[in-house]
């Protein structure tokens, strides 16, 4: 059985209970279930696939170690999200100190063969978006991704980030405005 199939039909709460009962292999089901969605957030938040996977792995491992303190096992995903948001903050601060937030996405670029102009255009668009996201402050980028990409309610965002709903609404508004300005500028470069 592949790791992606562990606990495919079980609920989050069932898998958490199995892990706490000693079946650590059941955690693979939770990893498979949340890897892609959380990975997407980390990749866009950090702008660097390698650092995103590192933050994501760290979040899953911390989640495992702290699983006994997950008060609502049926909301494991939301709980883990909170851990990842914080791991991305610390990883982002570390990357910012090194002055590196934006890198070419080699996976996307390698997938753009010379004979496929649409693929090249897509890869260029992806680079522009990543560059534009990197120009937002971490707080604005975080709020933008949680709202528009992860489609979270403001109350959930407040729980994850520790910021107030009003502050988050303002960050989302400003992030959207700034992104549009940045991308309009990019069109004229």
């Amino acid at each position: 059985m592949g790791i992606d199939h562990v606990g495919a039909g079980a609920s989050d709460a069932d898998l958490v209970r199995r892990v706490l009962a000693g079946d650590s292999g059941a955690y693979a089901g939770l990893v498979a279930r949340y890897r892609d969605r959380l990975g997407r957030y980390a990749v866009h938040m950090l702008g660097n696939r390698e650092e995103a996977e590192e933050a994501l792995q760290d979040a899953f491992v911390r989640g495992y170690r702290s699983l006994g303190r997950c008060d609502a096992p049926d909301r494991f995903g939301a709980w883990l999200y909170g851990i990842l948001v914080n791991r991305c903050r610390t990883a982002g601060a570390r990357a910012a100190r090194r002055g590196r937030m934006f890198v070419h996405d080699e996976v996307a670029l390698n997938g753009a063969s010379p004979g496929a102009p649409n693929a090249i255009e897509r890869a260029e668009f992806a680079d522009v978006v990543r560059w534009a996201l990197a120009r937002l402050s971490p707080e604005h980028r975080e709020a933008f991704l949680l709202k528009f990409v992860e489609d979270l309610e403001y109350e959930e965002m407040a729980r994850l980030t520790g910021a107030g709903v009003s502050a988050l609404k303002m960050r989302v508004k400003r992030a959207r405005e700034q992104l549009q300005v940045i991308l309009r500028e990019a069109e004229h470069v």
Binding site: I3, D4, V19, L20, G22, S24, G25, Y27, A28, V31, A32, R35, D36, G39, R40, V43, H44, R49, E53, L56, Q57, V61, R62, G63, Y64, R65, S66, G68, R69, G82, I83, N86, R87, R89, T90, A91, A93, R94, R97, F125, A126, V129, A132, P138, E139, L145, F148, V149, A158, R159, L160, T161, G162, A163, G164, A167, R176, L179, Q180, L183
Partner: protein, 157 residues
Amino acid sequence: MFERIVAHLRAPVHIDPAFGERVMAEIATLPTPTRARPAAAWRRLAPLAALAVAASVLLLIARPASSTRKLQFVLVAPQAATVSLVGDFNDWDAARTPMRPLRADGAVWSAVVPLAPGRYHYAFLVNGSRWLPDPAAPRASDDGFGTPSSVVTVSGT
């Protein structure tokens, strides 16, 4: 344009196919997690009035029958709108331990946390984005995450 950006960002991203195996290999080296015990019945908290004079203090304020101790973390931050306590004990989750103003002027923020004996790294998160180590506590050596933090050690005796 905006819709195209959002659609692009919502598309699946490539994650290393071996990612799951890497996580499982790492957790295989860890002990099985156990359900956290229900909170013990704490003794009455010590008076808090003396805290306002300190820039930042960490107090042992009660000891329950078990070896777990209840500690109060305090930060003076008159300009802050929100302050959270983050650390190893709450997975650095800003939402889990919000600090409360002790005084009407909102200058002194406090959180009380029960901690089992051990050594913990922690920091304050001000306004959701500014990380502060505790100025009155030993600074943690760089843990590789680039964020300054402090250390508190809870003894078992």
